[in-house]
């Protein structure tokens, strides 16, 4: 039972992290390599403010969402949009955006490394009082419940928004065919900025919750989660929220089984071997749709 709780918590963290990345990649085609750095930098900024001000958890979560959204929207406005404007074709723009994202991530990483000297940072002890419960023999803390609750509620909300709201449907139409979507009157630039802000907001919330769950993080933490988030999206299928949910929990379950039953040395290798197998057997992921191209 304890292993199930651990897998659910890890999977929820992967999900919170991957959700924003998946939405941006699956709709506006932006694979944002600065996503991990935004996640970390939001927590870093809040740590700097919270150490003096003693912010409560709800305030931290709301501020985290706003700060993450602002950094992500600025990245879109100042880096990705100019790249898209200047690139001769969409394929080259995608590659240049990857490099641009790495550049943004490096700047955010360098600033936080300089300030913290890579010493771990977190929120003050009074931010949340940790309470633990015994549920069917497993030890569960209130932080576990908050993390799992946020992951499930946010993914359900994003999934509904993408499939049922007018803006979400417009966004998905960009993912299917950007040219036709523009001809139908969809403002791609405005939607792209909004999507990046949403992705950043989700990343900011994930940064706050991860810092609470771990107790502290370091500037390099975002990089480690970038790989996990990427893996969860590939496993579940790009562009589908349900796929990302499934990918995140499958990855966490595989890791938990390996840690519980082995010495843990091969966790990353075996988890990624599973993903490699998935890419060979079902390249679009478990719930990904087959791409149809018409000539």
């Amino acid at each position: 039972m304890q292993a199930v709780v651990n897998a659910l918590t890890s999977g929820s963290i992967y999900l919170l992290f991957a959700l924003g990345m998946s939405v941006a990649w699956g709709t506006i085609g932006v694979l944002n390599f600065a996503h991990g750095a935004i996640f970390m930098f939001t927590a870093f900024l809040l740590h700097t403010v919270a150490s003096g001000a003693g912010l409560s958890l709800p305030v931290l979560l709301v501020t985290g969402a706003v700060v993450g959204a602002a950094i992500s929207a600025l990245t879109q406005l100042l880096v990705f949009e100019p790249i898209q404007r200047r690139s001769p074709d969409a394929h080259r723009a995608e590659l240049q955006i990857l490099v641009g994202g790495i550049g943004v991530a490096s700047i955010l990483l360098a600033i936080s490394q300089r300030v913290t000297q890579s010493v771990p940072f977190g929120f003050p002890p009074g931010t949340i009082t940790v309470t633990s419960y015994d549920i069917l023999g497993a030890r569960v803390t209130n932080i576990h419940l908050i993390v799992v609750g946020f992951a499930l509620v946010l993914s359900a909300a994003v999934g509904w928004w993408l499939s049922s709201s007018r803006v979400g449907l417009g966004l998905r139409s960009i993912g299917v065919d950007p040219e036709v979507a523009t001809m139908m009157g969809i403002n791609r630039r405005r939607l792209a900025r909004g999507t990046m802000a949403l992705a950043g907001g989700l990343s900011g919330v994930a940064g706050v919750l991860l810092t609470l769950n771990l107790g502290s993080i370091v500037p390099e933490t975002g990089d480690a989660y970038l790989l996990k988030g990427f893996a969860a999206i590939i496993l579940g299928g790009v562009g589908t929220v349900r796929g990302t949910v499934l990918g995140a929990f499958l990855l966490a379950a595989a890791e938990t089984v390996l840690i519980t039953t082995t010495s843990g040395q091969w966790v990353d290798a075996i988890a990624f071997a599973l993903i490699f197998a998935m890419l060979l057997l079902r390249p679009n992921g478990i719930l990904g749709h087959k791409e149809v191209r018409r000539t």
Binding site: S118, F121, S263
Partner: protein
């Protein structure tokens, strides 16, 4: 035709300029390190210091530099080298092996440098040693605990290997009457891997406890919840966490939240303020270290007072102590050599190492070119660290 002739002239002129420049670089007749072994100290002895001032190991680089700066102040104030001044050029190698190697090449080629103080990370240090040892450039390191760093007469390490003073951790476990312990180590870090796979099993055999489980993770791992649950549900009453500094508050937080109440034993990475984010949860965690500000040796306390005076009451950590002792080791060697010549300084270093000296880390002796210290057991109080006496 004119175009071709012009091109030839430009190529020839450029080649000539390059040859002249290269020759000037390699034979810079700077008086401070003439390489002829001539006696007498020049007005200035130039040292190249390659530090990791940014990047993931910056906590070691910046604190080491602060210790070195304090030593430089004292050397100048005491006129330890008479009218000679030590001039230290600091370069930031950040997280790049290539940059460290490039700086080392620059230091070896520029004859005005008499010695190099090398980077902290083993990966960078091995690359630097591969350049400086064959070039007969005296090179001193702090940290850099892996093989391939001390490769010959010209390379010295002024941080004792953790395994050389780790026995105190085994004695601590024995003193608590513990018979079962778990181990978690970072598999991709040579020092931590060696402690986890060799040293701790040896300590277990020598101190009458059993290693019930031995788990490993990568040094970038952040989630230890499964390990914490595993240990909590086992019979282990002590857990050795051989992880890098930033991982230690996370693993302790997760162990305590999982309900683990036993002893937590780490290594020197738990110092330097790394346990601050874990606060009260980490209270009672212990780790063997080469330095803690509370250790009683008079030379250690003298360093602590001087450090606090220079840095507005800041308490020094092990990296600062290692940096301080490294600079004093080099200054003693230069005085012994009475020359800025590289070979003479190497001989001076060997002589000082053979005699040993008292420094921030207490009594310093060397085994070959590798430092040895007695070591102490430090304990986290919830807000700072103190020394623990082990009663066998």
């Amino acid at each position: 035709m004119l175009g071709k002739a012009f091109t030839r002239v430009v190529v020839l002129a450029t080649t000539a300029a390059l040859v002249v420049t290269t020759a000037a670089c390699s034979d810079n007749p700077a008086p401070s390190a003439s390489g002829d072994g001539g006696g007498g100290l020049p007005a200035t002895v130039k040292i190249l210091s390659i530090r990791q001032l940014t990047g993931p190991s910056s906590f070691a680089g910046t604190n080491g530099k602060k210790g070195m700066d304090l030593a430089l102040d004292e050397i100048a104030a005491q006129k330890f080298l008479g009218d000679t001044t030590l001039e230290v050029d600091v370069k930031d190698s950040a997280n790049s092996v290539q940059e460290a190697a490039s700086f080392a090449n620059q230091g070896v080629t520029d004859r005005s440098y008499s010695a190099i103080i090398g980077p902290e990370a083993s990966a960078q240090a091995t690359a630097v040693s591969a350049i400086t040892q064959p070039a007969k450039m005296p090179t001193l390191y702090i940290q850099a605990g892996s093989d391939g760093v001390v490769t010959g007469d010209y390379t010295f390490r002024v941080t004792a290997p953790a395994a050389s003073y780790f026995d105190i951790a085994g004695e601590y476990v024995k003193s608590k009457g513990i018979t079962e312990a778990a181990v978690l180590y970072a598999t991709d870090n040579p020092t931590l891997n060696q402690l986890g796979t060799k040293k701790i099993p040896e300590l277990a055999a020598a101190n009458g406890f059993t290693v019930t489980s031995s788990d490993s993770v990568a040094s970038n791992a952040q989630d230890f919840t499964s390990f914490a649950s595993k240990v909590t549900s086992s019979q282990a009453k002590a857990v050795f966490v051989m992880l890098i500094g930033p991982q230690t508050p996370v693993v302790i937080t997760q162990l305590r939240r999982a309900g683990y109440q036993g002893e937590i034993i780490g290594m020197s990475a738990m110092g330097s303020g790394n346990l601050k984010p874990a606060g009260e949860l980490a209270k009672g965690a212990v780790w063997p270290t080469d330095f803690t500000a509370d250790q009683p040796a008079p030379s250690s306390q003298k360093f602590v007072e001087a450090y606090k005076a220079k840095y507005n009451g800041e308490v020094p950590n092990n990296y600062a102590a290692e940096g301080y002792d490294t600079m004093w080791f080099l200054a003693r060697a230069i005085k012994e050599a009475n020359s800025a010549d590289r070979t003479a300084i190497q001989q001076g270093l060997a002589k000082v190492a053979a005699e040993g000296f008292d420094g921030a880390m207490g009594r310093l002796t060397f085994e070959g070119n590798d430092l040895r210290v007695e070591g102490v057991l430090a304990q986290w109080t919830g807000s700072g660290e103190t020394v623990v006496q082990v009663n066998g």
